[in-house]
């Protein structure tokens, strides 16, 4: 029992170290905030043009879409399938994995907490200015608060689960380096981003594709929390969507741990 709590203190410390390290890059954060804000604004303008053309076939309410895009930009670092690498791939390729293995902590848990911490700290630096401006903006382009506190609470829960799903997906990506020795798999990342609703929100997908995409693990990343916040998913659908997130998180966590154990058994360190 004592051992378990000791372990979790270690992981919490790792989380804290990564979190504080991430907070150091303030200038980069400001540049990022400006970029993301401009990006989000252009996205909304593009959707607005489609809305003007034919509002009757627009699959979301416009205000829902606006909230979706602002939250997406504010929490980009939290949910985007790219960019949470703690040099995990590097460690595997250059052989430092040997040192990692000699430590008395599970490598999976260690990397998982570090990856999550990087995402949280980047988001903590960037999200507030974007959200504040998004709330101040006038009517059609401004963000709105969710209709009731229950929606907000389920958004928080779903966001935490979304972070877990993205992180466990990126763990699978890192573990695949054991097999491929290939650092960066851009195609998988873009594929995931597209199916997660990173390019256009899932409700804009054509009909049979939308239904399939909503069942996939990618939809459990940013799609669910964003649509819960904006009010596009509500009522019983919220419960269903959150359960689906939990399901995919457990599947990917278990798969990741098994694959990690197998690859560590046969890992071969070259050189002395």
């Amino acid at each position: 029992m004592k051992n378990i709590s000791y372990n979790y203190i270690s992981y919490a410390t790792l989380f804290k170290i990564r979190f504080i390290a991430g907070l150091q890059y303030r200038a980069a954060a400001w540049a990022g905030i400006a970029t993301q804000f401009a990006w989000g604004f252009m996205e909304i303008l593009a959707f607005a043009a489609f809305y003007r053309a034919s509002p009757d076939v627009f699959p979301m309410e416009f205000s829902h879409l606006v909230s979706y895009i602002w939250i997406q930009q504010a929490f980009l670092a939290l949910f985007a399938p790219w960019g949470s690498d703690v040099n995990a791939a590097e460690t595997i390729i250059n052989g430092n994995i040997a040192y990692e293995m000699s430590r008395p902590l599970s490598i999976y848990n260690r990397w998982f907490f570090e990856k999550a911490a990087i995402r949280v700290s980047r988001t903590a630096l960037r999200c507030l200015p974007i959200l504040i401006v998004a709330f101040i903006l006038p009517e059609p382009f401004g963000m709105t608060l969710p209709s009731d506190p229950f929606v907000f609470l389920s958004f928080i829960l779903s966001a935490v689960l979304g972070l877990c799903v993205v992180t466990s997906y990126s763990m699978l990506d890192s573990i695949s380096v054991f097999y491929t020795m290939n650092r960066y798999n851009a195609i998988l990342v873009i594929f995931a981003d597209f199916l997660a609703g990173g390019y256009i929100p899932l409700p804009f997908f054509p009909e049979p594709l939308r239904k399939i995409a909503e069942l996939l693990p990618f939809a459990a990343m940013q799609n669910t929390p964003l649509r819960i916040y904006s009010g596009n998913i509500s009522g019983n659908d919220t419960v269903y969507a959150i359960c689906l997130q939990l399901f995919w998180f457990i599947i990917m966590l278990v798969t990741g741990k098994i694959l990690m154990r197998n690859s560590l058994k046969r890992v071969l360190i070259q050189g002395g």
Binding site: A27, A28, A31, G32, A34, T35, A38, W39, M42, L45, A46, A48, A49, F50, R52, A53, S54, V57, P59, A186, I187, I190, F191, D193, F194, Y199, I200, F204, F205, P206, L209
Partner: protein
């Protein structure tokens, strides 16, 4: 020379190009999905939007092949490679351009060409000689503008050492949002892209001419007008070079 050396690893080269084609397909898919639901946006049909998108992608990818050295310019300053370029008796821009040419980035060009070949006959355009000339002007002048944007991006590095992420909104953003005619973003954005960073001059205005919405020849030659952007970009670069202090030995 660069082409020869990069062709030495043929399979890697081909796989890389293929990878880039798939990557850029996400944007195309996004547009296609939107148009399964909507018939038109601001009066532009799917093939007309695809036409517009392919022109911007081609211009961007040509610029990217040659501007790679400017894209990684902050690194050239920190590792001192730029100091070596300064002491050689050749133009600095030429040296940086020639030192990093990546033909892999033509992958997007191939994908865009395929989109263009699909869209051109379906867009309802009567392809007379002047329209083909306009298309050619759009692509070539667009490439020059994107190249200038990379030079501006690199020039900022003289003052900040770090790259500036917000320039991405003009380079990558220009390509990403250039998938729709810039006019759909509204009056303010269009004005900015006409008078400040003249990207609409090689995209929106000549597109109107190609689609036969404007007969005025001025619209046809608007891309040539946009090339004036070279002057401020070059002056900014010169200003940066003159203020340059080496990072050390």
């Amino acid at each position: 020379m660069h082409l020869k050396s990069q062709m030495q690893y043929k399979i890697t080269f081909i796989l890389n190009i293929f990878g880039r084609i798939i990557l850029s397909f996400a944007t195309v898919a996004g547009v296609l999905f939107m148009f399964t639901r909507f018939n038109e946006v601001e009066g532009f049909s799917l093939s007309q939007v695809l036409l517009c998108m392919s022109v911007v992608s081609m211009a961007f990818s040509i610029a990217e092949v040659f501007a790679r050295g400017f894209d990684i310019f902050p690194r050239l300053i920190t590792n001192g490679e730029f100091d070596r370029a300064l002491v050689r008796p050749r133009g600095i821009i030429f040296q940086i351009l020639a030192s990093h040419i990546e033909f892999v980035r033509l992958g997007i060009f191939i994908q865009a060409l395929a989109v263009l070949i699909y869209a051109a006959p379906n867009s309802g355009v009567d392809w007379t000689f002047d329209k083909i000339l306009t298309l050619f002007l759009m692509i070539s002048c667009g490439a020059i503008i994107f190249f200038c944007l990379y030079i501006v991006y690199a020039s900022f590095a003289f003052f900040t050492i770090e790259g500036l992420e917000f320039m991405n909104i003009l380079t990558y953003g220009g390509r990403e949002f250039g998938r729709y005619p810039y006019a759909i973003y509204g009056e303010g954005i269009l004005r900015f892209l006409t008078y400040i960073v003249p990207m609409a001059l090689f995209q929106y205005y000549p597109l109107l001419y190609i689609l036969g919405r404007e007969e005025n020849k001025l619209y046809m030659f608007a891309p040539l007008l946009s090339v004036i952007f070279v002057i401020p970009a070059y002056l900014f670069w010169r200003f940066g070079v003159s203020r340059y202090k080496s990072n050390g030995s």
